[in-house]
Structures are given as C-alpha cells and as structure tokens.
C-alpha cells in the first residue's frame, strides 16, 4: 500500500494534544498549584547535593525529620528539564508526556482492530476527561505507564464476535505481550510516581475478572490461561516495585497517604467530582452515555471489562483526579467491546471509510520528528520563537507572589513565615533560603499540621495561640483574604510589602492599628501585581 504524507491517527493525537497542552494551556498548567515548583525545588536540591532527600531541609515546622522522597525520579527529571529549558521547557515536557499517552492509546486501539474513527473519538474523549488533571507533575508518568500497561492487561487479541453472533469478524491476532516486561515497567514506575499502586490494582481487577468468567464457565481453558498470565504479570510487577531506594518503606508510605482520611478529605484533587463544573458535567455525560450503552446493547461485557468499569467508576467518583485514569482505561476497553456494534452504524458521508483508509496509510515517524524539532526549538528559546513568547517561562504574578518574594529575598528578610498553602511550593523554588510552614507534600507534613494551618487561616478558635506556638513573625497571604485584615488588627503586626496578589506582613511590635487596616489593604489591592 502506498504511504502518503498525511499523519496517522496516533500522530494526529500526538500533534493535537502536545500543541493544546503546551501552547494553548501552558499558563493553566504552570499556575494550577505550587506543586510543580516544589518538585523542581526538590529536584534541584538533589542535583546540588548529589543525594536523595532523607531529612526535610525545606520547612521550619518539620525541619530535619525523616523524609521519604517517593517521587524522586520524576523530580530529578523535571529539575533537569528546568535547568535546560526553564519553566517553558517543563510545560513542553509535560505536554510531551500527555500527548504520548494519548498517541499510544490510539495506537493500542488500532492494534486491537478498533475502527479508526471510533479510535479517534475515544482518544479525544479520554483527553478531554483527562484535562482536569493536566499539571506538570509526577502523575503524568502514571498516565503514560497506564497506557503502556493496557496491552499487557488485554493480552493477545482473539477473534472478535460480531453483534449478530452469526458473523465472526476475523482480525489478525496480536502477539501476547510477555508478562515479565512488567518487571522493568514497574521498576521504573515505582521510582517516578506512587501511581504504580494503581497499576497493580488494574492487574488485580483483570485477574478477578477472568476468575469471574472462569466461574461463569465462559471459555474455561482460555480464562485459566489468562488467570495464570496475569498472576505472573502481577508478581513481576510487585517485584519491580521493590527496586527503589526505599524498598518496602515506599509501599508503607503510600499506604499511609491513602489511609489518611483527613488529608484526602482536604486535598482538592482527592475530593469527589463537582458535577456543577464543566469537567464534572462532561464526566457525567460520559457516565450516562456508558450506562445507556450497557443498558441498550445486546452484547455483554466480559468479566475483566465489567470489573474495570465498575472499579474505575467507583474510583473516579471517589476522587476527581481519577477521572483522568477513567478516560484511559474504561473508554478504550468499551471501544473494543462496542466496536462491532459501532461498525453496523451507517457511515455518514463516508467519514468512517476515510479514517479507516488513512489509518492504514498515514505517517507517524515523520510527524513525531517534526514535532520534536518544533518543540526542541521552542525549548532552546525557553518558550520564545523569533523573540516572541509562545510559551510562558514563568509563573503568573497574578497567581503567585512573584514581586513581593523577589523583594523580600533581596532584603534578606528572615523569620518563621505563615503563608498561603499553594505558595509553599513557590517559596521552595523562588526563595530557597526561606523555610516554609507547609507545602503540597501533605503526606510528609501530616494531618495535624495541615489542620493547624487551616485553623490559622480560617481564624478558628485559638488561631492566635497557634501563631505564637510556631513563633510566626512573617505572613505572606493573598491580598484580598480576610486574614490580612485580621492580622493587621493584631498588636505588633505591620505591613511590610504588598501588591494586588500578595501581602507580606511582619511582626515588629507595638500596639494594634485596627483603624488603618482596611485602607491599607485597599491600597495594596490597587497596586498592580509586580513581576
């Protein structure tokens, strides 16, 4: 068959999502929270000291306490990318991870014989659902690794059954991916992000699904073979996860995170989805669409796919961050299942035929190289091309206290600081000499300190005592927060610096000045956010 110059569907996925993530949404990605900056800060520390972090060097609340750097691998990678190409480079790299995941997803579906148009639509739907959690953080490696794991979970493709049962659609079988490949996969995964646990859970779900089919007496010999294969896959995966600097302590640490209800209940991404938001509504649509399909289809899901659907529905409704993983697991397996039914639908204006034809003749490598060259060029320019900024190379001063921190650092201001939670990571990144109260790594700080931080910010009972107990002499908080007014009315607190984004207060002594508090803050709010 003649290969044309048009891109293949995986190439289209790569192009679209890399452009969207890195060029359309980089500001959103870089400013979503302070965790990226925390990861870069941690990575920088490890590169400077040529060592993993074993004891906390960043905070004054938990300084010197034992620290489990369970994402050290990705932190090092992000720090290296940052050294080479700045934050713009980090946005480009994150876009690459995201785009690669969806490109591989498309490739997987095509290899399973799924209709090309359906493949494209499912990949788009998965990406839209996943966009809720597009942030340059270690979990993007989990997104990628889950997609890599899918073929191992699905095993060799067998003959697929058409809706009418009389017609069996024959497609070339795929090779059975060797389960022992799980060992290096999980070995790398465990050193990058704690999401490897999810990978093991997926294997468990598939194993249970095949066991269910075995008990239901569906094709017993094949089910038994799959049960054995997945058993080997699971064992190899578990062995791989032990290859990390912390050995079994890594697993204990992650189990501890997942078992801490207070932290999970007070961390945005672990909350249940908000179906009032746009993303929540899209997820709701996806769920309802799936239920409608199941209820109206004559073909029934096999055990693994059914358990995967139920399990991922449970996980996604339990924590909104799992919507992204729902997209790359449930949607593709449903596409595989319903592909035969999809093919019986009328081909409107021959679009399906066009996609099918192009999927067999499209180019992938060429376009990958072109995109690598394009983004490589942008990386070298730290997000600039021909003098124009295409990708921002810094965080937004409207979201982070850029100007106030720069000035405070230049003045060598020191003291125990209470600050906005999200800014903890930024402080680690931009003001490394200043120790933080807390940051996004709540697995380390624990529920107790998180609650204290919350109580102070919400002016709960004894908040003044908590400030005193930690000897807080500096406060860096958003300009329009009620906390600013409160603190300015307290004896000894004075305004040190401010702009429209942040106010820096310092405890210098003297009587309270409640009368001027409002006017001071209003004057700050009128100043532009300094860069």
């Amino acid at each position: 068959m003649t290969r044309r110059l048009h891109p293949s569907i995986p190439a289209i996925s790569l192009i679209i999502w890399w452009l969207v993530a890195s060029i359309v949404f980089p500001a959103r990605m870089l400013n979503s929270d302070g965790d990226l900056l925390r990861h870069i800060g941690h990575g920088e520390w490890m590169l400077r000291h040529h060592s993993l972090i074993h004891f906390d060097p960043f905070s004054f609340t938990k300084g010197g306490q034992p620290f489990v750097g369970f994402e050290y691998g990705s932190q090092l990678i992000y720090a290296l990318v940052h050294r080479a190409a700045g934050l713009a480079g980090v946005a480009i790299f994150a876009g690459l991870l995201i785009a690669t995941a969806y490109a591989l997803l498309a490739r997987f579906l095509l290899s399973r014989g799924v209709d090309a148009l359906l493949t494209y639509l499912v990949t788009v739907a998965a990406a839209v659902l996943g966009a809720v959690h597009w942030a340059p953080r270690p979990h993007l490696f989990t997104l990628l690794f889950v997609v890599i794991l899918l073929p191992m979970l699905e095993g060799a493709r067998r003959e697929m059954q058409d809706v009418n049962r009389d017609q069996r659609v024959s497609r070339p079988a795929t090779r059975d991916p060797r389960p022992l490949w799980a060992l290096p996969l999980f070995a790398i995964w465990a050193n990058l992000h704690g999401g490897f646990v999810f990978g093991l859970v997926l294997i468990g779900i598939y194993w249970a699904g095949h066991a269910l089919d075995y008990l239901r007496e569906n094709d017993k010999p094949n089910q038994l073979a799959e049960i054995k294969r997945l058993g080997v896959l699971f064992g190899a995966g578990v062995l791989g996860t032990l290859i990390n600097p912390h050995f079994i302590a890594l697993h204990r640490h992650i189990a501890g995170i997942l078992g801490d209800r207070f932290i999970l209940d007070n961390t945005q991404e672990f909350l249940s989805p908000d179906f009032h938001s746009v993303v929540g509504k899209l997820f709701l649509l996806a769920l309802l669409g799936i239920i409608a399909l199941l209820a109206t289809s004559r073909s029934r899901l096999n055990g693994p796919h059914l358990l995967l659907l139920l399990g991922m529905t449970y996980l996604a409704l339990n924590a909104r961050r799992n919507m992204q993983l729902f997209g790359v697991t449930v949607l593709p397996v449903l596409a595989i299942h319903f592909d035969a039914s999809w093919r019986t639908l009328p081909d409107w204006r021959g679009i399906r035929a066009v996609f099918e034809r192009d999927s067999r003749t499209g180019q992938t490598t060429t376009y990958v190289l072109v995109m690598l060259a394009l983004f490589g060029f942008l990386s070298v320019g730290h997000g600039k091309a021909f003098g124009r900024e295409v990708i921002p190379n810094g965080v937004s001063p409207d979201e982070f206290p850029v100007g106030v921190v720069r000035k405070a650092r230049a003045e060598h201001l020191q003291g125990n600081m209470y600050h906005d939670f999200v800014w903890g990571g930024y402080l680690i990144y931009a003001w490394p000499e200043q120790k933080v109260f807390i940051d996004g790594g709540t697995d380390f700080y624990g529920a107790g300190l998180l609650k204290t931080w919350m109580d102070i910010g919400q002016r709960a009972a004894y908040w003044r005592d908590s400030l005193a107990a930690h000897n807080i002499t500096l406060a860096l908080v958003p300009t329009n927060s009620g906390f600013v007014h409160e603190l300015l009315r307290e004896p000894g607190w004075r305004l040190h610096d401010c702009d429209a984004t942040a106010v820096l207060l310092q405890k210098v002594g003297g009587p309270a000045q409640p009368a001027v508090a409002d006017s001071l803050v209003e004057a700050c709010a009128r100043r532009p956010a300094s860069r």
Binding site: A295, G482, D518
Partner: protein
C-alpha cells in the same frame, strides 16, 4: 387461604402477622424518630422557620409578604410549603418537638412502606422488594430531616404507583370487579393538588412524568412497529396534563411553578447550598449511594434483557439529578432503584445458589402469610402516643423534646429575649430559623429560605460573615446593632478587636452589641 407452597393459613392469622412492609415501616420509623432524631431536628435551622410560618398561618391565615426579616420586610413571599408548615405547627402545638419527630418519622417510613407495596404489586420477589426498600431508605437517611421534603418522598412513590401500575395489573391482583375507566388521571390530579400545597418537590414529579414521555417518544422512533409506545405516550400525556392542572390548585395558583423552578436557575445560590452540591462520596451516605449505583450499573450490564426506554430515561435522568445534587439521592432511590429491581427480578428469581434460594423461599412464604398494614398502623399509633407523652418511655427520653444548645444559641437567645433586646441584627444563616421560632419579637437578617432573600443579600451575608475587605463599612452602612454568630466565624474574630463592640459569650454563640442611632436601610442592588 393458601400460601404458594400450599399451606393453609387462616384469615385471622394473616392479619396478626407482621408483613415485610410492616418491618420496613417499623424499622424506619424507629430509625428516624429515635436513632436519627437528633439529626432530624438539629441539622439545620429550617425547622424553626417552618414552625413559625405554620403558627402564623394558623393564627392569621395565609400571608404573602415577608414579616420575619428586617432585610426583606414587606417583600413578596410565596407560601409554597404552607400545607406541611401547618402540619408541623399543629403537631408541635399538640406534642412539641416529639410530635414533629413523630410526623416526620411516619411520613418517611410511609414512603418506603409504599415502595415495598409497589414493588410487590409489580411482581417483584418479596425478598428483593424488601432489600430494595431498606436500601432505598438507608441511602436516603442523610436527608431524614424534619422538613417539608419528607412529604415529597411519599408523593413520589404515589406517583410511581400511577406511572407503573397498569389497569390490567390492578384488575388481576386485586381480583375485584374489573375496572373499565382509567382513573389514574384523576388520582394524578389529586396527588399534585395536594403535593403543590405541601412542598416544591412536585416539580420533580412533573419532570418524572416527562422522563416517561421522553422514553415513549424514543420507543416510538426506534421501535415504531410496537403500538404500546403510542398508547403509553397518550397515557403519560394525560397524566402530565392532570398533574399540571393539579399543580395550580394552591394559594399561588400557576405562579407557583415559575417560583419553584426559578430558584433552581439561581446558580450561585444553588452552588452555595450544601444539599444542592454534588454528593461527597467520602461521607457515609455517599458511599452507600456509590455502592448502590455501582450495583445498579452492574445489574444493567449483566442482565441480558434490555431496560425499557421509559425506564432507561428515568434511570439516566434521576442518576444525573442525584450526581448533580445530593438532595436528589433519596428521589433516585425511590425511582431508579426500584426500576432496576424490577428489571433484575427475573434474573434474581433464577438464582439457584442454595443459600439465596432458601432465603428467598422462606421470605416469600412469610410474606404470603401476612397482610401489611396492621402492625404499621399499631407502630404509628404507638409513636403518636409516645409523642403525646412527651417522648418519654419508662423515664427514658426516646424522642427528643428540645433542640441541642450545642448547635443553636439557646442560652444567648433566651437571655437576649429576656433582656428585651431588639434592633437590627446580623445573624448566622443556619440560626435564622431557630431565632424566628424562639425569639419571635426579633427580626432576622437572613435564614434558610434563600429563595426569598435572593442572590444579592445572600452574597452580602457571605462576605460579611467572612469579614471580607470592606466588612466594617458595610456593617456600618446597614446600621447593624448587634451580631449573633458562632465564636469561630471570621466576623466574630474581627469584632473581638473592635473597641465599639461589646461581647457576650455563651455555650454556643457569641453576641456582639453596639448602639447606633437608627437609620433607614437601603438595599444595595
């Protein structure tokens, strides 16, 4: 009379045995009134408002302008829950808070009692019907509050009777003289006429009929060879017409519809109201709902027989509602869940696994031997008797007779009232209803009836309570003379440092007072 197994049962014995429906009723009555009585009375302050409105109506008749707040005084007020408010006020007058609890418990338990009856009438296996009713009750338990919506629970099940039972089935089950006239439009009219005077949930009833209609249309389009979709469509259209007419039989007439529906369009208010937020699946009620939802999806995925189009639309629609707003979860449990049980019934009956088969058989035998109603009636009567005796039994307070002073500012309000304190007060929203009831001389800033207060005032309240920048200026411009808030409210903390405010602590709630010359308040629209 003989059981299915051929055993002879006397008519007398069958009335004396408690039926599964009676177990549902008794379990839920006990749960609502005794086990969750505290939650029913103390979860929010809205009960206080309903009691006050009910008392006003009993004393002076219906009223159409606000008389309880100083912020919205004289503004139009739509008494769309007057029926339930009068019922609550009457029960409170006769038996105090135990009386309110009794009415609430009987209302809620009746809904699930009727649900069991409905499922049995539709031919669902007794054990499955029992399990479904209990599960539906359990998942709705977080919303067992002494508020008008409990009547909507009963009405929804009533509507499901009208939507699901056919003329034929009623003829075959009741075995009475054959019915030649379909009286369901009439009953629907009556149902909605009553419902629209009890609670705004009648809107959900209209939407539910709409779901059936949509399902009929889809069926007609996709399965045009089947004539039952057309007849079903005609039937549901008649029911919808009857319902719409019935909705107009209330003091506000047809205007009740835009008023109730209009609140749902106020996005900010809806998003700020806890019960309108999406379910929190970290909470126990969320977990129960999640498990049931997953089970329901599994049932739909596993059962080869397809769900009918109307039932599918109902399931999808009510699931969307429940995921959008937690308060719709009990309604999902009374509509979608029983339809799934009905759908799963044949498969359930075919389960051959011995433990389940035996349990099923025993339960069926027991249910055939008993007639529902007597034990439920006795239970309801006992509960009423208990309420009339102050909620105590053998010296034990089984039904709460007072609100929790740890939740409401009981001490502060009593003291302020005895001191004759009056003036412009800024109060905690969830205490507004309590203040209306316990301190009738004092007008509130706001309470839970946010459809009356609107978005502007609600936002103003939120910004003042949070002591957002400019709070002092806004408080001064409103001429607020005293503030009643919890000690940990940001505004409480802010006022503590202000020299022109004095503070009076209590067990729960802090009262700050200031004296200012009275000025006319101007709404900042």
């Amino acid at each position: 009379m003989r059981t299915k197994a051929g055993q002879s049962v006397s008519r007398t014995r069958s009335w004396l045995l408690p039926a599964p429906a009676d177990f549902v009723f008794l379990m839920l009555t006990f749960s609502v009134a005794v086990l969750r009585g505290w939650q029913a009375l103390n979860t929010d302050g809205d009960l206080g408002r309903h009691l006050r409105v009910g008392r006003e109506i009993l004393a002076h008749g219906l009223f159409y302008s606000d008389r309880f707040s100083w912020t919205m005084q004289g503004r139009p007020f739509v008494p769309y829950e007057w029926g339930s408010e009068v019922l609550f006020a009457l029960s409170h007058r006769v038996a105090g808070l135990p009386g309110v609890l009794a009415v609430t418990a009987i209302g809620i338990a009746s809904a699930y009692f009727l649900l069991y009856i409905l499922l049995r009438r539709l031919g669902v296996d007794p054990l499955l019907a029992f399990g479904t009713s209990i599960a539906a009750g359990l998942v709705g338990a977080f919303h067992w509050l002494a508020r008008p919506h409990v009547f909507s629970l009963v009405m929804v099940v009533g509507l499901m009777f009208l939507l699901e039972t056919t003329v034929d089935s009623r003829q075959s089950i009741t075995a009475r003289r054959p019915l030649t006239v379909d009286r369901r439009p009439f009953w629907t009219f009556l149902l909605f006429a009553l419902w629209s005077n009890l609670h705004g949930g009648f809107l959900f009833g209209l939407v539910l009929i709409g779901f059936y209609l949509v399902g009929d249309v889809i069926g007609m389009v996709l399965e045009h060879h089947r004539v039952d979709h057309r007849s079903s469509l005609k039937r549901h259209l008649m029911l919808l017409g009857a319902a719409l007419v019935g909705c107009c039989i209330n003091p506000s007439g047809p205007m009740i519809l835009p008023h109730v529906a209009g609140y749902l369009g106020k996005t900010w208010l809806v998003d700020m109201t806890m019960e309108y937020r999406s379910p929190d699946f970290h909470q126990w009620y969320g977990r129960v709902f999640l498990m049931l939802l997953v089970l329901a999806v599994a049932a739909l995925a596993l059962i080869r027989r397809r769900l009918s189009w109307p039932h599918l639309v109902v399931f999808l629609g009510t699931t969307a509602f429940a995921l959008h707003s937690a308060r719709n979860i009990p309604l999902w449990a009374l509509t979608a869940l029983p339809l799934v049980a009905l759908h799963a019934n044949p498969s359930w009956r075919r389960i051959g696994w011995t433990p389940i088969a035996q349990m099923r058989e025993s339960f069926a035998m027991g249910s055939h031997m008993a007639r529902p109603g007597v034990w439920s009636g006795m239970g309801a009567a006992a509960l009423v008797g208990l309420a009339l005796s102050g909620g105590t039994l053998a010296g034990t307070q089984l039904l709460l007779d007072k609100l929790d002073p740890g939740v409401f500012p009981v001490e502060v309000v009593a003291h302020a009232r005895s001191e004759g304190l009056q003036g412009r007060m800024f109060n905690e929203l969830t205490w507004g209803g309590y203040i209306l009831n316990a301190w009738p001389e004092q007008k509130v800033f706001i309470d839970g009836q946010t459809d009356l207060y609107g978005v502007t005032l609600s936002k103003l309240y939120a910004s003042l309570r949070s002591a957002e920048p400019g709070w002092k200026r806004r408080l001064d411009s409103l001429c607020v003379e005293f503030v009643l808030l919890p000690a940990d409210a940001p505004l409480s903390s802010a006022l503590e440092r202000m020299p022109d405010w004095t503070k009076a602590d209590s067990v729960n709630g802090v009262l700050y007072t200031r004296r200012l010359p009275s000025r006319a308040w101007k709404r900042d629209d």
